[in-house]
Structure formats: C-alpha cells, structure tokens
C-alpha cells in the first residue's frame, strides 16, 4: 500500500513538475545533433554538434563515445581546442580502422537528452587543411607571358613519410568574369598557366585532397596582373595594315590629282552639239546679248546692206488672182503648182523644197530670197483667214534668217506684210504719203519710200525693198519703171493701215478721200475709183477706226510694227 501511494505521489509530483515547468516556460533540453567529424591529417579528428532547444535553462553538453567491440564509454577529452560545441580527439585518442560510436548529451536543470549516435571511422573522414603559401609569378616568355603558380602542402599533413598522399587542384579566373578554369596538378606543388590575355587581372586558388578523402577548402585568391604585351602575329598584322593603308592613301591621292583624266578614261564624255562660234561659257554667264552677238558673223545679220540679201521684187497681185493662188495652195501645195513661171516665182512659194531647189538651181544667193520676198508680198495681200495664212506660212518655216532677225517663239514666220492693194485709181505713187507721214526714220534707214501699187489696173508694179529696219518695217522703194515715164517720186507715199489680221498681217487701206492722188501726167485716174478689191472683199470691213491693240498709232495712221511682235 505504501509503495502504491509512493508511486502515486511520485507520479503526481512529476506531473506537477512538468505542468509547472510548462507554465513557467522551462523544460528539459531538446536533442542535440552531431553535425560532423573531420580529420585533417589522419592522426587527429574533431566532432561538432548542434545544440537543440535549451529549454530556457542553462544547458551543458557532453560527448560520449565507445569503440566498436568495447563497452567502455569515454567522454570527450577536449572540448576547447576546436571551439564551441566541438570535441577534439588528439593523437592518443585516435585509432584508425576502428569505429567510434559517438553521441552527445544535453543536460539542464530539468533534464537531459541524448543525440542520435553516429559511427565514425577516422580514415574515412579525412579532409586536409588548405594548401599553404600560394605564390603566383608572371614569367616573360616568347609568345607571351605565363603564370607560374607555386604552393606548399598544408602544415599538418605528413606526406613525407607517406602516411598521407595529397593531390592538388588549382583554378584561375579573370576577376571580371564568373567562370573558373580548373587544372589538376597531381602531387606536384607547382603549375604553369599559359594563354592568358594581356592587361587583365586574374585570381588563382588552390586546394588539395588525400588519396581517399574529401577536398579541402580553396585558398584565399591570389591576384595577379598580366602586363600588356603584343603578340608577334598581331604586331606583324599591324605593320601590314599600316603599309596597306599608306599605299591606299597614295593611290587615292594620285587618283584625286588625276581626277579629270581618270574620269575621262572611265566615263568618256558624250559629245555634245557644237555650234561654230557658239561659246557655251557665254550661256553660263547669262548674258544673252553677248552670246547672240557672238553668233553674229561678219555677214550676218545684214545690218546695213540688205541689197543683196533681200527681196528685190515684190510681186503684187490682184485679189482674185491671189485668191486663186491661195486656193490652189490650200488643196495641194505641191503638185499642181510645181510648174512655175519665172516671172512670178509663185511655184516656189508652194513648197519649201521647191524653194530650196530653186535656190540650188539658181546658185544665186539672192534668188531664193527674192522668191521669198515675193511670197511675203503674196501672203500679205488679201485678208485671209487664219488657216490660209498659216498654210502659206508653213513652207516658210523655219524662216529665212535674214528676214527674221528676231523671231519670237513659234515656227511661224512673222511676216511683215505690206499689203498692197491693187488700185486702179489713178493714184500716182508720188502723190501719196502726205497723209501718212510717219516717222519711219530709223537708225540707219534711209528715207522710206513706199510705193503703192500702180493704179494701173491688173498690172503689177514693183517696189524695191530698200531696207528692213530693226523694227521690222519694210522700207520700200519703187523700182524705176523701165517703160514708164519717170515718175516723180519725190514725195513719199504711205499706206495707211486699215487693220491687222491676227497673224501679224497688216491691212493697208487706201482712203479714197484722204489720199491725194498725185496726178500722173501720163495717166488718168480717178480719185474715187480706188475702190479696192480689198474693200469689196472686206464687206464686213470695219470702218477705219481705232486699230487693234498693241499697235502704236502714229500720227498719220502708220503702225509701228515692232509692237506687234512683242
């Protein structure tokens, strides 16, 4: 009964104690744990443990071991040498090829706890210390410098007696990179590293391992700087490159100097049109006057003497005849009028080619011009519709140069036609003109004399074109009538312009009332009988009135033709 009560009391006390301890926050320590054991030289070894929960009370730890096949338990001989929570086994306490059964006990006021036991055989836990005295040397050599790394064995390891054999390993890395290059050095204590980049900094580390065991830790890195060097191949290439660059420079300079000739050789210039006497540089200068003046040859354009160039005759026709002529011209310019009569020269007007033929035939410089002049007159005579005028004008394009000195635009010849209205009125040439005196005085021009068509009906009278002044006014002079009487043309005869047909054709008008008909002693013409066929034609003629625009009306009705050209 007492036993029973004792045990009950004991249980109760234990429970109370546990309860109290839990409420107070203290308890027996938790189980410690052996983390590992290591032997650096196969002669001693150290074990470390990790304490568990200390239960809120100061806890002590003790390590106990026993050898295999023996029951004797020994406690750790040295807790201090290896640091906290460790046990150091000296040489006397270390036996190889024997298992140690080791456990750690944690004890505090509340109780104790034991770790899991661990079996250790010292020969299998060998991990040497790091190698000693790592040195790195930069050695200059022919292609480039190399590194010579040297080190010593860890202090405690006894390799000399052969008790422990160590193999070494080293690794190299450029300080800016991340990857290491590893080399196995075997049992030797030196190593050469080649093919390193110039100018870079490298870090070297060494470690070792026993023949059966664990690798040691790496030594702290040794830094070394590779000096700048130039590979022989590189310097050779640099020399080659410099030389080539120099050659290239010389070549380029030569080409540059001989630029034009090279260009001429490679890209031969396309021959352009050349006009004799034409200087393209003057074009560039932008002064057209000079340029054109350069074109002016000795004989061109004729400024003073038009005599041999210009038309000698002006053939003036009757309106009807002209109509015929014109009509023929319209239909077939070439065929029917090929046959030409010498006196009129009309045939030449019909075709340009014919004209040139005639020119060739005649061999006379003035011949063709003569013909042209005649054509001019013909063109001028009746008021034509525009097409007809154009039809006439086409064979004459391009216009003869000597007549068209200042042709503005267009292929059409700007003819300055002097309309001669055949007049059968007794209008003596000499008696006209007072009405229409104009200041035709032009520089270099003689007195203009215009001859009107002889009032002799149906007969043509000829005038001689004296000059063409710079304002494109034909200055005519009546030819001396071989058969007729010598007419006194002291005066000047003028024609009054009636109208201007849009193709620069002047319509001259004879004002019956105004024109003094000079009395021709040999002729009897009635003043009033100068109705012009023209007038008849031009039924819807405008009364003489204000002239068309652009014409400067000179006092007596003459037109400054130059204005029309503009």
């Amino acid at each position: 009964a007492t036993m029973w009560t004792d045990s009950v009391m004991l249980a109760g006390l234990t429970l109370t104690a546990i309860f109290v301890s839990h409420t107070a926050g203290v308890s027996a320590p938790g189980r410690p744990r052996l983390t590992g054991c290591r032997s650096p030289e196969k002669e001693t070894f150290t074990c470390w443990w990790e304490p568990g929960d200390d239960g809120g009370l100061p806890t002590t730890y003790a390590l106990y071991y026993h050898l295999e096949g023996s029951e004797t338990v020994y406690e750790c001989p040295d807790y201090r040498t290896a640091g906290k929570n460790s046990c150091f086994f000296s040489k006397n306490n270390t036996s190889l090829w024997v298992n140690y059964n080791i456990s750690v006990v944690a004890t505090n006021a509340m109780g104790s706890s034991v770790s899991e036991p661990v079996d250790v055989d010292v020969v299998y836990i060998v991990q040497p210390n790091t190698p000693e005295d790592v040195r790195v040397l930069v050695v200059d050599d022919d292609p480039g410098p190399y590194l010579h790394v040297s080190w010593e064995k860890p202090l405690a390891a006894d390799t000399q007696s052969g008790w422990i054999t160590l193999v070494y390993q080293l690794r190299v890395k450029e300080t800016s990179q991340d990857t290491w290059e590893e080399y196995n050095a075997g049992m030797q204590k030196g190593y050469n590293i080649f093919s390193l980049l110039s100018g870079r900094e490298y870090a070297v580390q060494v470690r070792c391992k026993p023949d059966h065991g664990f690798w040691s830790e790496w030594t702290s890195p040794a830094y070394v700087q590779i000096p700048d060097y130039m590979l022989r191949e590189h310097s050779m290439w640099i020399i080659v490159a410099v030389f080539a660059g120099f050659l290239l420079f010389v070549l380029t300079w030569t080409v540059n100097v001989k630029r034009s000739s090279v260009k001429h050789c490679l890209l031969p210039p396309v021959p352009g049109p050349k006009i004799r006497g034409f200087d393209p540089h003057l074009l560039k200068s932008g002064r057209s006057e000079e340029m054109f003046s350069a074109l002016v040859t000795q004989h061109f354009p004729p400024t003073s003497s038009y005599d041999d160039l210009l038309v000698e005759y002006l053939e003036v026709y009757d309106v009807e005849k002209q109509e015929l002529v014109l009509g023929v011209k319209n239909e077939d310019p070439l065929a029917p009028t090929r046959t030409s009569d010498n006196d009129s020269g009309r045939g030449s007007c019909d075709s340009r080619t014919l004209l040139t033929e005639r020119y060739a035939e005649d061999g006379d410089k003035g011949g063709a011009d003569r013909q042209l002049g005649q054509c001019v007159a013909e063109l001028a005579s009746p008021p034509l519709e525009e097409e007809k005028v154009e039809a006439w004008s086409t064979p004459f394009s391009p216009p003869p140069l000597h007549l068209q000195r200042q042709q503005v635009g267009g292929a059409r010849a700007a003819y300055h036609s002097v309309l001669e209205i055949p007049c059968d009125s007794p209008c003596a040439p000499g008696s006209y003109g007072h009405q229409g005196e104009s200041d035709i005085s032009k520089p270099g021009g003689r007195g203009a004399s215009t001859t009107l068509a002889e009032p002799q009906a149906q007969s043509a009278e000829y005038v001689e074109v004296q000059t063409v002044d710079h304002e494109n006014v034909l200055l005519l002079r009546p030819l001396a009538d071989p058969g007729g009487p010598d007419v006194d043309y002291a005066g000047e005869d003028y024609s009054k312009i009636r109208d201007v047909i849009p193709d620069n054709v002047l319509l001259l008008q004879r004002e019956p009332s105004a024109w003094p008909c000079a009395a021709d002693p040999g002729q009897d013409r009635g003043e009033r009988s100068c109705p012009t066929a023209l007038q008849e034609l031009m039924q819807p003629c405008k009364p003489p009135g204000p002239l068309q625009q652009g014409l400067r009306l000179v006092a007596n009705g003459y037109v400054d033709a130059s204005a029309m050209l503009c």
Binding site: G69, K91, W97, N99, D119, D121, G162, W163, M187, H212
Partner: protein, 227 residues
C-alpha cells in the same frame, strides 16, 4: 560520379591485368615462395601497392552498391548490427601512425601477409552467398571475383617481398597468425552478415594500402614522399 570513375578505372585495370601480373610470374609456378630475381624490389613494391589500391577501389564500389540496394539509409555506416567486430581484439590493430612507425618492415610485411590470407576464404564464401541470393546483381559478384583474384596475387607479391627482405623467407610468427581469429560478422547468410563482411574487407584493404605506401616511402627515397 566518383563511383563511375572508379568503375571505369576498374575496367581499365582488368585490361591491364596482364601487365600487372607480370612481376609475379615467378611466384605462380610454385606454392612456396621462390626468390625471383627477375624484378627489382622497388618495382615489385610498386606493383603490390597498385594491387592494394585497386582492391580498395573495387571493394568501396561494391560496398556502396550493396548499401544502396539493401541497407536503409539510417543504418548505413553502422557496422556490427548484432554485435561483432572485424578482427578479434587480440589481433593488433595498428591504428596510429606512431604505432606503425615503431614496427619494422619485416613485421609489417608479415602483418600484411596474414591479413591478406585471412580474407581468401571469406571472399569465397561471400561470393557464393551473393550468388545464392538471386537478388544480387551480376556486377557485384563479378567484382568480388576480381577482388578475390587480385588479393591472391597481392599475397604472392607480399611473400616475394618478404623473401627479398633481410631475414629471408622466415614464416610469419605463429602467434600473430593465431591471434587472427574468424571475424564475428553476425548471423551467417543474413544481409547484415554480408554487409559487415564487405565493410570489414574495405577497411582491411585500406589498411593494407596505407601500410604499403608507408613501406614504399621508408624503403626508397622517392620524390613522391619527400616533396
């Protein structure tokens, strides 16, 4: 990875078997050790040491394989489940460097000879035991066979070395031989029996290798020792 390297090395060793076996030709022809003058002592010692190294590597490989196959992780490394030691207590366990350095070369050779001889039978038994268990892979059995062969040659080499030593072919002291009793490896034919057996073999192979290396550095002035 380490094991694979060891395996590859073992295969290479198998190929080199002929060259390794060369120096021991003299001893093959007769059971009693005949002094063979065809090979120098240094070379012979080198070859014997190589044998010991190979034996250890292959045994380690076998043990690791066996552990992976049959031994649960918490029990690994724990030898002697069910009691027993590799060697009896009376047999001197040369467990420290100081202890070993006090022993003469001849005595070391004798020690190694006994150790090697003690494993010939257990190895045979181990092989048959593994063969009987159908679960054991063929590689294990073949490797054990290889170890057994190499151990025999090592024994012969040690015998030669003893004969080359001063003192002639004196047999090992009987006391030593008697001290070496049958290791108590637990219940026969059990997994732990096999496992313990292998572990003990590995340990003894390591011991022999270490002793031979010591002997090598003692007897010759080799660069590998002085450096």
């Amino acid at each position: 990875i380490n094991r694979q390297a060891v395996l590859i090395q073992a295969c290479l060793l198998c190929l080199l078997r002929g060259s390794v076996a060369l120096p021991l030709n003299c001893a093959d022809e007769s059971s009693s050790p005949v002094p063979c003058t065809s090979i120098s002592q240094d070379k012979l010692l080198d070859r014997v040491t190589q044998h010991a190294e190979f034996i250890y590597r292959i045994t380690e490989e076998v043990c690791n394989q066996y552990e992976e196959l049959y031994i649960p992780y918490p029990l690994r490394g724990l030898k002697n489940q069910g009691g027993g030691t590799c060697t009896s207590m009376s047999f001197p366990n040369l467990g420290s460097k100081t202890e070993i350095q006090q022993i003469s070369d001849m005595r070391l050779l004798h020690y190694m000879l006994i150790l090697a001889q003690s494993w010939v039978e257990p190895l045979t038994y181990l092989q048959s035991s593994l063969k009987n268990n159908d679960h054991a892979p063929d590689t294990l059995v073949s490797q054990l066979k290889w170890v057994s062969d190499k151990l025999t040659r090592l024994e012969q080499g040690v015998v030669l070395l003893i004969s080359m030593e001063e003192g002639g072919a004196a047999p090992p002291p009987a006391a030593l031989q008697q001290a070496l009793s049958e290791p108590q490896l637990g219940v026969p034919d059990s997994i732990f029996h096999e496992y313990n057996s292998l572990m003990c073999l590995k340990k003894d192979a390591h011991k022999m290798e270490t002793l031979l290396k010591l002997l090598k550095c003692r007897q010759t002035d080799r660069l590998s020792c002085t450096l």
